[in-house]
Symmetry: C2
Subunit: 255 residues, 2 copies
């Protein structure tokens, strides 16, 4: 059996799959990509994933992209602890959470992070180098995101709106976690994995978001103490410096 | 066993679940909502789904929202023809399609439809009635969408961008359907259901989109001839007139 995971640093969607694979306990070959050096847009990687995005899982030649889809695949294809409820209604509740993360929580956080981080990346490039890197991005939406963030930046109104969406996301989590141990009741599931991949840095980067959230605070601590989380967070982080440099900006948007 | 489906006319996300439930062949009680009369925002309905959105499935008291999640639930919880591949890799490929519809294809179509349709709905209201209806919408994103569409409308640049995304979606379908009978190979799945719920009206409303797409054209015909599709499309449509009135506008954006 050959299992290879192409992924970035343990944050956001790459963290989501690293958490999934470590919780499942499946041995895999890690292929770490430096996203801030645009490795995911290189022709050799686009031959693997034409979208030019990580994470990508390759299992005996079968290529799977999309972090949420990969995590359900890992749970279906391998033995190990179940990461999804055994009953259809539980799985439906889990999927409503993972979908909410993908369509609402993650995009809001991603735009905020991008806005505060991109200049640290692109300032090291000449305008010609920047355009050359940009031209290689296969998805027009991603090109637009890079160009807007690197040039004029997003407007305060846009940032405020994404900040509100992040707050709404944490409130939605609190509503559930005030009542149950995990997001889908008494079982740890991929819903927790998806949300933690977004919220992992909140206690240090945006503690104000958790100030009146005892449920999320308790859950975050329980998540952080899991062996799977520790193993995932211990994966190499080639862009830690750039992430740290963006910390104050992200924190101020999420005030 | 009690199975109730709250849904709108057979179009977009309501059509998606009507196709799923008819293909599965499960008897259900239909609760038709008139979305153009804002019934989904009524307090009695928000008591069922706080998001104020259809479709919603209630199975023996268990409430499930989100059309894509409902369709996987129907396939997992009931006997009948399998609507998903039996192997994990096939299911992963199916979920990449259903996710793509939810995050890319559907939003683009939805904004275009809204832009051309909303005035037919809101022109019948006084400004006070409009504000009153608006205030009842629980999701801020939906409020914004209604307000922007009804007042100034979206910009040509936004409409062009969504039009491009719809074209990209159809091209992506063609790339697959030029090679295989259905979107995930030789088995009809929820991937086909999700895409048809978006593309059902294309041959009549935007034939130019299918002009050089033999794969999608063949697939659309095969989809339209399925008994499940015929049964779903035969469900009552209380807003047909409003949809028809928007037809020319939508068609011109998708030229």
């Amino acid at each position: 059996m050959a299992l290879t995971l192409y992924h970035g640093e343990p944050a956001a969607n790459s963290l989501k799959v690293l958490l999934g694979i470590k919780e499942k306990g499946v041995p895999f070959e890690s292929k770490l990509m430096n996203l801030h050096k645009f490795e995911q847009h290189e022709p050799w990687f686009q031959a693997i994933n034409p979208m030019g995005q990580v994470p990508v899982l390759i299992h005996d030649g079968m290529v799977i992209n999309e972090s949420t889809v990969i995590n359900e695949y890992l749970d279906e294809a391998f033995d190990g602890p179940a990461l999804r409820p055994a009953d259809p209604y539980g799985r439906a509740k889990m999927r409503i959470w993972t979908k909410f993360v993908d369509e609402y929580f993650c995009p809001a956080l991603s735009f905020i992070g991008w806005h505060h981080m991109i200049k640290n990346i692109t300032d090291k490039l000449t305008p010609e180098e920047f355009e050359e890197k940009l031209a290689r991005i296969p998805l027009k939406e991603q090109q637009d995101k890079w160009r807007t963030s690197a040039k004029q930046g997003y407007t305060q109104e846009q940032l405020d709106n994404w900040g509100r969406q992040v707050k709404t996301s944490v409130e939605r989590m609190e509503k559930q976690l005030a009542r149950t141990e995990w997001l889908v009741g008494d079982q740890f599931t991929l819903a927790d994995v998806s949300c933690y991949a977004m919220a992992y840095a909140m206690p240090t980067r945006s503690p104000q978001l958790l100030a009146d959230k005892p449920g999320v605070t308790r859950w975050h601590k329980a998540m952080s103490e899991r062996e799977g989380t520790k193993a995932a967070m211990a994966m190499p982080n080639p862009v830690r410096e750039t992430l740290e440099a963006a910390r104050a900006g992200i924190s101020s948007t999420l005030r």
